[in-house]
Amino acid sequence: MRALLNLIQIEFLKLRRKKFVAGMLFAALIMPVIAVFYFGMLDTKELDPIKFYKWATLSYTPWILLPVVLGVLSTLLMYDEHQNDMLKQLWVVPIGKLAYFFSKFFVMLMYSNVFMMISAIGSILAGLLSGLIPLTAPSLLFLFGKCLEISLLAPAAMLPVLALAAAQRNYLLPVGFTIIYTFFGFILLMTNMYLHPLSAMTAILVRNDPVVILNEPINTGKAFLVLGIWSLISTIGAGFALRRSL
């Protein structure tokens, strides 16, 4: 337990001077800014804050932006150690292969949390400053609750990419895979949402939203099962890949 805590702490030390990792956080502000223009042009009166938040933070951000950002992040987390042949130096410390994998996952978890918080605060500020929405307690509660859900589920849904990055020396394949993976997650939502972790995640997120109508009734248990199975497969695969990494 303490060994894992130590590893996680060290994972953050490794990110020093990585400007790109910090820079990707700005992607969280893209949707809030666009939302201001979108609703500004519609010229709606008395805009429901929840509707604004859904658009600005809870739609394309978790569906597309966050998965892509997390995919790139997981590639970056693995890339240095692979590229510089550091794994052999780490294994002789020794470091457990799974503890190593989980420490990377934990960084993704923290990162997605920060990302969603930035997005949420960005939306609130954008909405307030442009005068589109009032500040109401229920809408804030809703926004932060959903953001917390997203930031916990998205890294789990992106575990297959992290596993692929763990198995690969170069970065092109995992980054390319991230884009295809995210795209399919989006598409499959409409056809069969219980195949892909990302669509399962979306299903969980919109479970009691009356506005969203999918072609299948949402079964949260089933969605969680799908996420769990994929996570397990990814973890086992990553453990196997790391053991053979030399």
């Binding site: 130590n6 590893l7 702490q9 060290i10 030390l13 490794k14 020093r16 001077r17 990585k18 240095d80 150690e81 510089n84 042949d85 550091m86 052999k88 130096q89 780490l90 294994w91 002789v92 410390v93 020794p94 470091i95 030399l246």
Partner: protein, 307 residues
Amino acid sequence: MDNLAIECRQLTKRYDEQSVVNQVNLNVKREHIYGLLGRNGAGKTTIMKMILGLTAPTSGEVLIFGMPLQRNEKRLYPRIGALIEKPGFYPNLTGTENLEIFAKLRGTTQSDAVRKALDVVGLPYQDRKIFGQYSMGMKQRLGIANAILHDPELLILDEPTNGLDPIGIAEMRAFIHNMSAQFGKTILISSHILSEITLLADDIGILHNGILLEENTIAELEKKNRKYIQLEVSDAAKAVLTLEQDFSIKDYSVQDLHLLHVYDTSLDMGKINQALIQQGITIISAQRCNDTLEDYFRKVTGGEGIA
């Protein structure tokens, strides 16, 4: 206390039916420097990786301090410092930050271990320069600093002078020598350069095409590297007189009352024999030792030589 730091028994590694390492029995004694000599591709790195558990052997086993590595990782790894192939570090961090990461991962034996390790290899502490901007020599030094950061008993260094300039090579040699002479560390070092091994090692293993051809002490091998004529005579005093007077030989030494070493090997033995016999000296044996270690290695490797 078991006297061996590393013991390889019938260690074999095959990749697709081709054996890279073949039934190697390698024994590294505690507090000795063991030099593994072989050409590039002889299997040195593979052996070291198997010793460190980075590659699984096809068959055979490795004991470190008398224990197998498997299931003893937590016990054994902290006692080993290793530098395998090119050392890798985080390019976005400085040398100090990189070592601090490893110090945090492993734990240390003393306070300010990072600063002391950097001191030993001559890198500055708290330098702004990140690893990505390091020269080859500095990278190698940082690799060494990481290998000694936890003051391990056993150092495993794979071609540590590779890619260094002549001054760097000399410093690295002095460092390795020091580690053994001053701190009594056990060191396994590999090289494809004969002179490097003979300068440093106490014991030597010659690896050729994955087979350990010979394992011996340097002292034993050096006997094969002497250039002199050994004369065993009935009376050394008389023989010395003849050598000095008739052949004006000054460069010799007397081993005991009957044994002489003459260091000029270009002498005409026939004439010397004749002169000695004329003086009534019996020659019990005369032997010209004119082998160099290079010649010897050419012989054991079947004419191909080592470096």
